[in-house]
Every structure is written in C-alpha cells, then in structure tokens.
Amino acid sequence: MSQPNHANLAEKLTKDTKRTDWHNNSIWWVRQNRDKAVFGIPDWENLRNTASSIKSYMLENLHDLLLEFEKNALANGVQVHWAADAKEHNEIVHGILSKRAVKKMVKSKSMLTEECGLNHYLEDQGIEVIDTDLGERIIQLRHEPPSHIVAPAIHLKREDISETFHEHLGTEKGNIDPQYLTEAARQSLRKDFLSADAALTGVNFAIADTGEFVVCTNEGNADMGAHLAPVHIACMGLEKIIPKREHLGVFLRVLARSSTGQAITTYSSHFRKPRPGQEMHIVLVDNGRSRHIQKPKFKDALKCIRCGACMNTCPVYRRSGGHSYHVTVPGPIGSILAPNADLKKNSDLPFASSLCGACSNVCPVKINIHEQLYEWRQIITQEGHSSTGKTIGMKAMNFVLSNPKVFELGGKMGRTLMRTVPSLVNNSMNPWYKSREMPEPPKESFKDWYRKNRNNE
C-alpha cells in the first residue's frame, strides 16, 4: 500500500466486532452527555449563532486582530513570536529552551504541537518532554498518537492502561481501578511539575483587546506547569483570536457542553502577564492557515474551537477510531482540515463519512462540515486523487444513471445474478458486503410490477 488509507486503517478496530461496539458505545455516551447539557439551556441556538458570528468576524479581520493582540501582549511583558510553519515553530520553541538550558519541559494538551511534531523534535535535541494531561501521558508512554482531540486515550481499555502503568510507573499488575491508576499518575507527574525548567501550554482563546490567552483544562495540569516553571511558552494557531474578553461569556458556555457535557471545564485560566521573575512567550503559528483562509468554500473550518462534538457524533468515527484518519485531528473536522495541508495524501478522508450531517448539527460554531466534505469530494475526484475503485465506480454510475435503457437492463441482469450465483455479490471483494447481509433480490423490478398492475387496480 503506497499511502495510508482510512478504510484499510479502520480494519484494525473493525475486525474485532466486540471492540468496535465498545468504542462506538463509549463515544456515543459522551454524545448523550452533550445532548443533556445542551437541552438544559433555552438559549442554545442563540449561543451557537453568536459564537459563529464572532468567529466569522475573526476570519474577516484576522490581520488587524493579530496586530492588536501582538501590541497588547508586548505591552503586558509577553514575548511574541511568529512561525510560518511547523519547522519554524519547533525551532523557536527550541531556541527559547536552549537559551535557558532547559533539560525538562512539562506540556499540557496542545493539538498544535502534535501537528508540528514538537515532542520528537525536542527529544532529538536532548530535551525531555513530559505530557501531563492524563490521556496524553498514557499514549506518550505507549508511543501512540492521540485518537481523539479531547480524550486522546479514548481508544484504550482500562486493562491496556493498567499494563502500561505497571510497566512504566510500577503499579500493581492487574489493578485496573481508574482511581488507583489516576492516583499513580498524579504522584508521578507531581514530581515532574516540581522539577521542570519550562512549561508549554496550548491556547483555547486569545483576546486581541487585552493581549491575554485562555487555557481550559479539567485536570489543572496547565496551571501546575505554568505557575511553577520559570519559563512559560504558549503555542497557538492564528485562528484562536477573539476580539474581546466578554466574548468568552459565549465561548466558555458552549465549549465544555459540546465537549463532554460539563457546564464548564474545571479550570479556565486567563494569562495576561508573566509572574515576577518569569518569562512568558507566545508563538503564533501559521502552518498553512493564511493560505487556507483564502479559500472561500473552506475557510469556515478555521472557526473550529476543537470541542470534539463532531467526532463523538460521527457514525464513521465511532466505528473506525481516531487512528484510522492518519492525521492529528481526526473525525469530520479533521477530514476537512487535512486536504488543505496535503490534498493527495489525505484524499481518502473526505470519503470517510456518510454525509449524514450530524457533525454540522452539533458544531457549536456552526461550521458546515458535511457540505465541505462534499465539496472536497468534488475537487478530489476532478483532480484525479480519489482511489481507482471509487473513480471507476463513479464513472460507471454516471454512465448507468444517465442512460435509462442501460439502467433497466442492468437491473434485470443484477437480479438474475443475485438469485442464481449470490456468491458473486456476497463476497469479500464487494466492500458493501462487509458486516452486511445482501437483501433477497426481488423477482421483478418496480417498473415491471407497475407495468403489469397499473391496468387492473
């Protein structure tokens, strides 16, 4: 296989039917929690509309808002850096760390640094990086990528985690109690917080008007890191900017409700100035965003606040798992972001969807996700990047559907074939037959039946 492909990668999960069901159900449970939280607010649609229009305003005015943010952040005593791509981002972070001879850095969750491959880069330079979000720590110890943007270890069972902790943290073999395992991680990570020489956090929102940035966590790991370490680096994609602090009154209301069904995350921390004696840096990262924003049909994907609701609701994501998307951000939003970065390599992703539209319905900033998936399909097929099977299938379909005579003849042949040699259709070569029983073929088509019956009603 020349390049990763969603359908093939999904088999890792789908070949174990029990595990697929477990994965599907545990994520559906999160979706149900989201529903309960959302239905409890009479203003939900009003909040979504407002959140969406603030983000649209951001997209139209990003140039000015970034300049305003930079000016205010500098006045607050924060150092601001601009990175054109992943490589420059990694070099900037490394530059800051090497100036202070940092040996060990604690990191809270940041999908951006994952996108940039920061951990590996720093480890190659001899810097120890400790992921401190429990889910991220688990997958870091297992050398796996995250499978979900909010719950990075959602693909793992407690037995898997127990094994990993037994091996790396010395917990009792076979003890699968989440309370016990979490406590073990707490003890071990506390030592890391206390001994780190730098902390890196992501950014949920950056406010142009005040030059501050807001980081949301449930565990408190961003705060433990940032308030102890002498250096705090915050990395953010350009699109994290919002104009005013009061806009948080909208975003903080929709974020956690969409994510996990909580009314708000436990910690919503507003960093404006470094504490006395501390160094604070912000790295503004482009990595394709300023080109993405120039595509009218696709720019709205940049409104995403990374709540994860679209993946929790997606029937394909729930049954194929985050790793099958072979990019940092999986699920519906990942499938419309990834083709911007590399159309050819990610041409399979817009097809990993049933286009049911559930993603767009739950999105708190009202991104038209399923329409963009459809748009990408058009482009991918036109540019000849879709898989050969799919292209042949589509061309054949086009021929059949635009020729009524051919359609009728094909139907007749199909029905006869399915009756006489069902193995021709019900075999593993036909992807539709996987986990499906083909229906009993009817003896005659609807058209034939109608022709016979219309006169003797």
Partner: protein, 200 residues
C-alpha cells in the same frame, strides 16, 4: 522577509478579497441578551451545581464558623488562608516564597470575586490567590463567597470582568478531575481533590 511580514501579508490579501466579495465590511457582533430566568433562584442553583461538580457548598453566618471548620478538619496540617479579613490570614510566609515551597499545603482558603450559578464557576484574581499556583497545588481547596456576588450567567460575570488590570485570573469550577481512563470520572487529577464553598 520575516515570517511575521509574510503571514500578515497573506492575511491582508485575504482580507481585501473578502471585503471585495462581501461588498461591505462586517461589524463586530454585539452580544444579545441571554435568558437567565430558567435558572431560578441563583443561590440555590449555584449550590446545586457545586454538588454536581463533586464539591460541597454550605451557608455560613460568620468567618468564625469557617475557622472552626478548618481547625477541626486540618489540625496540625499546613493551611494557607488568604481572605479579605486580615486577622485570619497567614500569607506572609507564602506570598513571596518560591512557588515550589507550596507543594505540601493541605488546605488553602481563598476569597472569590464572584460566582456563576449556571455552571458553578468561581472567579479568582491572582491577588486573591496569594500565589498563582496556590489554588492548583493544594490538596484541598476552600472558597469564601459573599452571597450577593453570586450571578446567574457567564455573560453577567464578564460584564464585571471585562477590563482586567492584573496579570492573571481564572475560573475554577469544582475540584480537579479527569475521565481519561475509560470515561470514569476521578477527582484529584493534579490539583485539589476536594472543594468546599462557604457562602457568607
């Protein structure tokens, strides 16, 4: 050309193109009025939320009561009190120390600026924290809230908080928690294992 100029250049181009297509520039959205009636009695709702968040809320009639609670529950343990009424405070030794020295605080009590009924979040400024790390590193956290500072919604909270003057502040809603192991909720991930809110 620096990356900064390159990025800004591309964004400026995008902005020009968008404005040309849209004909007129978008104005900054004005926040609408949000419903708060659905929350009912705000003190009751707030206390309900603290309970849902695995915290504990209680109405008290005096600071003395709070002090008694602490003395009884944490005898001989390291306790940090930083509230408006200076006679109870013991921050001298803490406020200017290295933040790492706060590692073994068992219980810490802070004053919150305001509290929000719809989600149980309480706002603290760094002044109220004494040291930024204090409310995140202590094993157990206590909060003092004046009843009249409890609000219905986040919109009302930001109406008050919209112009910050200090370097750091944050909302805290309940004790630290995680559900990263098979979605089972565990309190005490990194920060406080418990939260008690005294409503005065």
């Amino acid at each position: 050309m620096s990356s900064r100029e390159e990025i800004l250049g591309r964004l400026q181009l995008a902005a020009k193109e968008q404005k040309r297509q849209a004909n007129n520039a978008m104005i900054q959205p004005v926040l609408p009025e949000f419903n708060k009636e659905y929350l009912g009695d705000k003190v009751k709702k707030f206390m309900e939320l603290i309970d849902i968040l695995h915290g504990q809320a209680m109405e008290v009639s005096s600071l003395k009561e709070v002090k008694q609670y602490i003395d009884k529950k944490y005898p001989g343990q390291r306790v940090f009190i930083n509230i408006e009424d200076a006679e109870y405070n013991n921050p001298e030794e803490w406020q200017n120390s290295d933040p790492h020295d706060l590692e073994d605080i068992e219980f810490a009590l802070f004053h919150g600026t305001l509290a929000v009924a719809e989600n149980g979040a309480i706002w603290f400024t760094e002044e109220q924290m004494g040291q930024r790390v204090a409310p995140y590193i202590c094993q157990q956290m206590g909060v003092l809230i004046k009843k009249e500072t409890i609000l219905h919604t986040m919109a009302e909270a930001y109406e008050i908080l919209k112009d910050p003057t200090l370097g750091f502040g944050g909302f805290i809603a309940g004790p630290s928690k995680t559900a990263d192991i098979e979605q089972s909720l565990v309190t005490g991930a990194h920060g406080p294992r418990g939260l008690v809110v005294f409503i005065l």
